[in-house]
């Protein structure tokens, strides 16, 4: 069954090249192609979750070389959860792009870049080789620089340049860390590195860990490294903002950071407090800066920083409950934040503006009922109102902080949640007001955009059932186990022969 793993990388790459080579005029073909690919990927990722629950770890040897020598693709609990998140959300994003990207020229180039970015993200999550991780990370990053600048207007170009410079410096830090680790252990296989180091707190390992922390921290936009995000995410087209905020900062940032620090270098205890502290600072800084914004998408981008803080806080805590909460919030955030970005795109699509003060007199609540409803659901989810998924994951994170005795962090997390609610009340009040003084003809968005938003909001409601033990054991349990028993990662190379 391990033959399934390379499909996560091969299928989007194939789609990207077919798109760029053969599609010229008829962009319907590229719509169908990317829909098919992302749909089959989400089916495979569901299947991979079953496989992980059944077998534990699956390893694919690229080219038939045995693990310490060759490159491996590893499917364990954490990577299957991330693959599910990435593939599922990217399916809805490509569904949305069918109508939304009509207003841009060269739609097929958009799909090419989007699928390349998807291949990079899946590769980062699935790989078991440290340098291979760097290559896929750069693949996804280069595609995302180009996608941020896709509109080629003044602001887009400026944001993309800023993002590209900062992100490429972060990549260099990561490469430097990889070089140091290679010279110390003489191997690049991640499980083999973990085995060689054996959890020793050598100075060299700690230095490499700090380099990785800076590099992946910038990709995840933890607070001292967050300056690029509020420019880059709003400048992209709405589907790309959704996939940058919902997927890219998670797979390239949080996943790689946690995987390298926890599983490969085994520095879980050392980095626990810095992660928790920076997570809490991210929560507060992000939300305080978000409240003052009047640009719909920029406000959402600041909220991404704040919500990433919750994930980092939960995972950094390192207790079983904290890790569960962090991973649950990761999954939930990718759902509701991509939904919110798609909503802001829908508002921009219909009214031509995303400034809250400009759209406040249009009376959008009655004119765009679907968008209004889905925005309400997503806003309630992100601010943590009981029946929706955001409430449960935030509750677990905060409760685990209290249980571990970190009352200060729990307090700031609660304050952050209240401020999030306040700022989304502002968004809803201004963007979907009932009274309209200005009589402009405004239509609801086309069918596929509605479909994508509606299904994402249904998922927001459904995923709150992951709170129940029965479901969370299946969906989040394997991933939680990967991080909790981080030392076991060094033994996964023994699993090579276990499944045919």
């Amino acid at each position: 069954m391990s033959q399934l793993i390379p499909l996560f990388i091969v299928l989007p790459l194939l789609g990207a090249f077919l798109n760029s080579l053969f599609v010229r005029k008829n962009t319907k073909v590229s719509d169908i192609l990317s829909l098919l690919i992302t749909f089959s990927l989400s089916v495979i990722s569901f299947l991979s979750l079953f496989l992980v629950n059944k077998y534990g770890v699956l390893i694919y040897k690229v080219g038939g070389w045995r693990p310490p020598l060759g490159i491996t693709l590893v499917l364990d609990g954490l990577s299957s959860l991330l693959l599910l998140t990435v593939c599922l959300v990217s399916f809805f994003i490509s569904l949305y792009s069918i109508n939304y990207m009509e207003k841009y020229t060269s739609k097929e180039k958009f799909y090419t870049l989007f699928l390349l970015m998807l291949a990079g993200m899946n590769g980062v999550v699935a790989t078991g080789d440290l340098f291979n991780l760097f290559v896929f990370l750069e693949l996804a990053s280069v595609a995302s620089y180009a996608l941020v600048a896709f509109g080629t207007e003044k602001e887009e170009l400026e944001a993309s340049f800023k993002y590209a410079i900062m992100s490429s410096v972060a990549s260099l830090f990561i490469l430097l860390g990889i070089g140091i680790i290679y010279s110390f252990t003489s191997t690049l296989n991640m499980a083999d590195i973990a085995k060689t180091l054996g959890g020793s707190l050598n100075k060299v390992v700690v230095f490499a860990g700090i380099l990785f922390f800076m590099g992946f921290g910038l990709k995840a936009s933890i607070v001292p490294f967050h300056a690029w995000l509020p420019d880059a995410h709003p400048s992209a087209p709405a589907p790309i903002s959704a996939s940058l905020s919902g997927l890219l900062i998670k797979s390239l940032g949080i996943y790689s950071l946690v995987r390298v620090i926890y599983n490969v270098l085994g520095l879980k205890e050392l980095f626990s407090l810095p992660l928790m502290f920076l997570g809490t600072v991210s929560i507060m800084v992000g939300v305080v800066l978000a409240i003052g914004q009047w640009d719909f998408k920029r406000l959402l981008a600041y909220h991404s920083i704040s919500q990433v803080g919750y994930i980092i806080l939960g995972i950094g805590l390192g207790t079983p409950l904290g890790i569960l909460g962090g991973l649950f919030h990761l999954f939930n955030h990718s759902l509701f934040k991509s939904l919110l970005f798609l909503n802001s795109g829908a508002v921009e699509y219909s009214t031509g503006s995303r400034q809250l003060l400009k759209i406040k007199d249009l009376g959008l609540r009655s004119k765009m009922p679907f968008t209004s409803l889905t925005t309400l659901i997503a806003s309630l989810s992100i601010s943590g109102i009981p029946p929706f998924n955001g409430f449960f994951s935030k509750l677990i994170v905060i409760f685990s902080c209290i249980k571990a005795g970190f009352f200060g962090y729990a307090f700031w997390a609660i304050v952050g949640s209240i401020l999030t609610l306040a700022s989304f009340m502002k968004v809803y009040r201004y963007s979907f007001s009932t009274e309209h003084t200005e009589n402009r003809e405004i239509k609801e968005v086309p069918f596929f955009m509605k479909l994508a938003m509606l299904s994402l909001s249904l998922l927001c409601i459904l995923s709150s059932f992951l709170f129940l033990n029965k479901f969370s054991n299946f969906f989040l349990g394997p991933a939680q186990k990967t991080l909790l028993e981080a030392k076991n990662y060094s033994t996964i190379n023994d699993f090579v022969e276990n499944v045919r």
Binding site: F131, F134, V135, E138, V142, Y145, A146, A149, T152, E153, K154, E155, L157, E158, A159, S160, F161, K162, A164, I165, S168, V169, L172, L175, L176, I178, G179, Y182, S183, L188, P230, D231, S235, G292, Q293, R298
Partner: protein, 112 residues
Amino acid sequence: MRVYFLCFILFVVGLYAILRKRNLIKIIIGTIICEYAVNLFLILIAYRKDGRAPIYSPGQEVKNMVDPLPQALVLTSIVIGLAVTALLVGLAIRIYEKYKTFDITKINQLKG
């Protein structure tokens, strides 16, 4: 050890250019310098004194070769660096078309 230190200084020179220069092209050159410092570091890891090229032929004993793996890594990382640099230069050209300047203090549409 001294040579690693010099390599580190090269990296810091690149970082200085990125942080302090106001011209877009100079910033791009800064990233290139940084990148080359990291590539040089990878090559230095592989270096053995009086080592020979890592080519194995029958009848030859495996002795005193340089480590071939970082050389392969550097090749990959140079190609990636080329892609990033090309994209950055392309962005800089488009920015010049829109703003008519390379000065980053005048390219300030985004605030807050």
